[in-house]
Amino acid sequence: MSSTRTGAGRVLVAVYGVFALAATARSLVQLLTKAEEAPVAYALSAVAALVYVAATVGLAEVGPQPRRLAWAAVGFELVGVLTVGTLTVLDPELFPDATVWSAYGAGYGWLPLVLPFAGIAWLLRTAAGASSSVA
């Protein structure tokens, strides 16, 4: 099976790693210092952080289990950014404070919207590489 962490996958892992670090640190500070101000938004940020960590680990490791983890993470990420993004565009006052997925990740240059598509494309490409190498 083709590795998800070689070639362009190395850049993808790096970007996911940066998001994992940033989202984890941000949500920890939010939850530890002002959780009562926007508990739902900060809990969502913490969930996003876990998803980014899972995606980073899943894409950086080699094997069927990490690949399944990566699929689950980027799938959850896609659903999360589309759901939270749509809700916050329809009702900007929904959360007292922004999450990483608010307005489809506009606060992060829409990278949170682009990343899951890039992740899925890379997982499909490396899976296709695996099947073509068998053939």
Partner: protein, 119 residues
């Protein structure tokens, strides 16, 4: 924090990113020159951390501002070494391009510290 150091670091990080992209375009792998460039940025980030630590007592950062500030600065110190380790583990354009992500992130981190620091 009010001096030229943060702006110089932002400029250096962006220049580092451009140099890395040229390396990627030419299919060159990271060399000692690139490592030295990164070392200068790393030393500058360390100096910025020291300056921030020396001046934070007089700054009105409020609440979680100080935690966030030093979180960004410590992340800025870790980015380049981790990025180089991840990049040098493989010889490919993708692996070299990792350093462009690191350079851009480094610039973003310094911009965020400037935004947090009271003007």
């Amino acid at each position: 924090m009010d001096g030229p150091l943060p702006l110089a670091l932002i400029a250096a990080s962006l220049a580092f990113t451009v140099v890395v992209l040229i390396y990627v375009a030419l299919a060159r792998t990271p060399d000692w020159g690139l490592l030295g460039f990164a070392g200068v940025i790393e030393a500058g980030t360390l100096a910025l951390l020291v300056v921030a630590a020396a001046q934070v007592g007089d700054a009105d950062l409020g609440g979680a501002g100080a935690i966030t500030l030093f979180g960004y600065l410590l992340a800025g110190l870790a980015l380049l070494p981790i990025g180089f380790v991840w990049s040098l583990a493989e010889r490919s354009r993708g692996a070299t391009a990792v350093l462009a992500v690191v350079g851009l992130t480094q610039a973003f981190v310094i911009v965020r510290t400037l935004q947090i620091w009271p003007s």
